[in-house]
Amino acid sequence: MTEPLLSVEGLRVVFGQGAREQVAVDGVSFQVAAGETLGIVGESGSGKSLTALAVLRLVPSPPGRIAGGRVRFEGRDLAGISEREMERVRGARIGMIFQEPMSALNPVFTVGEQVAEALRVHEGLGRREASARALALLQRVGIADAPRRMKQYPHELSGGMRQRVMIAAALACRPSLLIADEPTTALDVTIQAQILALLRELQREMGMAVVLITHDLGVVAQMVDRVVVMYGGRVAEEGTVEQVFGRPSHPYTRLLLESIPSLDHDRDRLPTIPGMVPTLAELPPGCRFHPRCPQAMAVCRERAPDAVTVEPGHRAACFALPQIHPVEAQSGAGA
């Protein structure tokens, strides 16, 4: 097997110091192959955004910091390179778009400038060349009347258009990986579909891999090759969409899937399951899910379950896994 494009191993992100240290991302591992789409789902606060930010070494610090783990990307350990080298990865090799197109663009620069500047920095283009490329990019992401829009400021654009601008800026240097953190959550439903379709098109065109963080299980089912389900800063389950949605192994995943409303009107939010989402400070010991888990056992309160391979490429972290393939149920580097 060739080395994956991105490989995250045992990633830990913590807030605070010493006794008041809180673990927000706790030993998260996953891999993304070139050109593949990985979905990350999980309740609010489960550590999805921090995981993504940690890959780019953009965890807000202070108060947060990356406390452990490895992030290998294009054959390099990103934790080991200098900030200078990291700047050459950000925007050039890994692009990122965020949930709020409203606040993610700088209000005092034109959108054309904000698309062009990455090209100037990474590819050393002059002002005019970069501007011409930015124009082409804006046209490519479907902005009508792009020459005029170039000179406008973010507040003059609709939310959907702003997200298109964000996409153009993130993809300007043709990165091999795009991380999209809930790129459509803040948008109208019809616009959501357009943006996702655009992302898919561009992905095919550029052959890039995508990590798509989303609350929308329908989107995961449609767009994604493999999916990571996170709970309380840890990976609960990981596998292909077919595996995870077809044969959910972790009690949390099962509850999630059961609670999808039949009409998908409220797609902005992950379906809710009984119980409260724990805050970082009140994360329980043992399996983080045990207070809400219908199958919780005594051991769940004491120890955290390791990830176990349920079938090839399908892992889950739970003591009560249905033993589909008992032979392969070994602690898991199998994915």
Binding site: L58, V121, A170
Partner: protein, 316 residues
């Protein structure tokens, strides 16, 4: 834009008229008699009355004020009671001096205050931050007249590198002009430098938390560019307003500084005029000061619009 400026200037006229009216009325209430000052100590009542009649001060306040406004409409600010020249001439002699002093002080304020605030914000709680905050605290707490006296003692008595008083016009000797402004402008600016550094620091800390700063970093822009371009332009939007206020405060602060350093500027002109009840000079001086502040506000608003594309002054 042109229309906006014109509207603002027209709107300033009633403001200025009201300012002069209030100033004149207040001066009328303050005890003191310029005729007595001119006639000198020991002058008889008859002599004082004679001087008063010569100066036209025996007529009623309303008549004199009316005359002053009529003169103003012709661009004539009247004649000083004490100085042997017209008010307009006296002001024209003094304005450049005060503008030079407060201009240099403003330059120091901006060139030191903004970078210090930015540096402090980039490393909160570091030694740089502590240093800036401590210096700012000192700048804010030390009264500028006391600072002036300390500087005068230091440079006048202990070492004599810099002049501790007086003013040399630029046209006469640019080097001496600059040297004569060093101590006064530092004394004047220190408070404002401290305030501006603190406000810049707080604003920068706020701005750096914004999503667009994270976006800029995610695009791989070097940290320097993220700060100097993306963050700084947003920081300057509120800071420009503060700088405008600073300049106003520098102008009024120059009254004390000009007196301490014997600099013949507007501040000293006004202070002297107030002590000697030289009404026309007070009126004219206040009018010019108020007009300067009106213009200053206009410039700040224009800068504000230039920095922030969300602000527009064109009528929809």
């Amino acid at each position: 834009m042109g229309e906006f400026i014109l509207r603002r200037l027209l709107a300033a006229i009633p403001v200025l008229l009201i300012v002069t009216l209030i100033a004149a009325s207040i001066m009328q209430l303050v005890p003191g008699d310029p005729a007595a000052v001119i006639a000198g100590q020991g002058a008889s009542d008859a002599e004082v009355a004679q001087v008063r009649a010569q100066l036209g001060l025996d007529r009623s306040f309303v008549v004199r004020l009316g005359e002053w406004y009529v003169g103003l409409a012709r661009g004539d600010l009247g004649h000083s009671l004490m100085l042997n020249r017209s008010v307009g001439q006296a002001i024209l002699e003094r304005v450049p001096v005060t503008l030079a002093l407060s201009g240099v002080a403003l330059l120091l304020t901006v060139l030191i205050g903004v970078p210090a605030g930015v540096l402090a914000a980039l490393r909160p709680n570091s030694w740089v931050d502590q240093l800036v905050l401590t210096m700012a605290l000192i700048g804010v707490s030390v009264p500028n007249f006391w600072l002036s006296l300390m500087l005068i003692v230091l440079f006048g008595v202990i070492v004599d590198w810099l002049p501790t008083g007086g003013y040399v016009p630029f046209a006469e000797d640019p080097v001496e002009w600059a040297r004569s402004l060093v101590l006064p402008s530092i004394s004047l600016a220190l408070l404002q430098i401290g305030l501006l550094a603190r406000i810049t620091r707080a604003t920068m800390l706020e701005v750096l938390r914004n999503d667009y700063v994270r976006t800029a970093r995610a695009k791989g822009l070097p940290r320097r560019m993220v700060v100097a371009k993306h963050a700084l332009k947003n920081v300057m939007i509120p800071v420009v307003t503060v700088i405008g206020i600073s300049f106003g405060l520098l102008l009024s602060g120059s009254v004390v500084i000009e007196t301490v350093y014997s600099i013949p500027g507007m501040g000293r002109l006004l202070a002297t005029a107030i002590f000697s009840r030289d009404y026309p000079v007070i009126q004219g001086g206040l009018l010019v000061t108020a007009a300067t502040l009106v213009l200053l506000n206009l410039v700040v608003d224009l800068l504000y619009a230039a920095l922030d594309p969300r602000v527009t002054y064109d009528r929809r």
